[in-house]
């Protein structure tokens, strides 16, 4: 077990923890906008930590370059998609749940 392995294990653990948190968030949170927040946690930090952990293991190979690209694309595309999604939802009149006003 070298230092590199331990770092990878730490990164993967943290990434998986964030992922599961986000997963529970998307399952439990009450409305679309809060779920959006939960899913963006898994899309950015979780993805970064897991891919970084894998990068440490692959060393200076083509695999590392590909992982870098995957991370780059993932960050760009998922953030943009989330943004566009929120914008469209807002323009279609989906109101965020504020307070407990929904209880009639």
């Amino acid at each position: 077990m070298t230092i590199l392995d331990i770092t990878t294990a730490l990164c993967l653990t943290a990434g998986c923890f964030l992922g599961i948190t986000g997963g529970f968030g998307i399952y439990r949170l009450p409305d679309f906008y809060t779920r959006l927040h939960a899913s963006s946690v898994t899309d950015s930090a979780c993805a970064f930590l897991i891919l970084f952990g894998l990068m440490l293991q692959s060393g200076f190979t083509l695999a590392t370059v590909k992982l870098c690209f995957i991370f780059f694309f993932l960050v760009l595309s998922s953030t943009t998609a989330t943004h566009a999604l929120a914008k469209t939802a807002r323009s279609r009149g989906l109101e965020p749940l504020l307070g407990r006003e929904d209880k009639r």
């Binding site: 692959s58 469209t88 279609r92 109101e95």
Partner: protein, 93 residues
């Protein structure tokens, strides 16, 4: 290590799948499909390392690029069909 990571990702996928089935609005489903896509990218990368063939990251790369497309297509569909139902009433009930 990789095995545990892939199991954790599978758990996240399961939760996203539940949200996609429950809905209630169309945007919720779209969000979970998008999240499912990113989790697929991660799962495929981790499986590549688990089976000692990390040269198969190309598949994850395709998903990272193409996953974008379906979200955009659905948004475009909503822009085009202003009256398309998004089931917002159900969520506010």
């Amino acid at each position: 290590m990789y095995a545990a990571a892939s199991l954790a990702i599978l758990v996240v996928m399961g939760l996203a799948l539940i949200r996609a089935i429950l809905g209630p609005t169309a945007f919720d489903r779209l969000l979970s499909v998008n999240m499912f896509g990113t989790k697929t990218v991660l799962l495929i990368s981790v499986i590549g390392f688990l089976t000692n063939r990390p040269d198969f990251l190309d598949i994850a790369l395709v998903y990272a690029l193409v996953n974008f497309l379906s979200t955009i297509a659905v948004l475009r569909y909503f822009e085009q069909h202003k009256s398309a139902p998004t089931d917002q009433k159900e969520s506010q009930r």
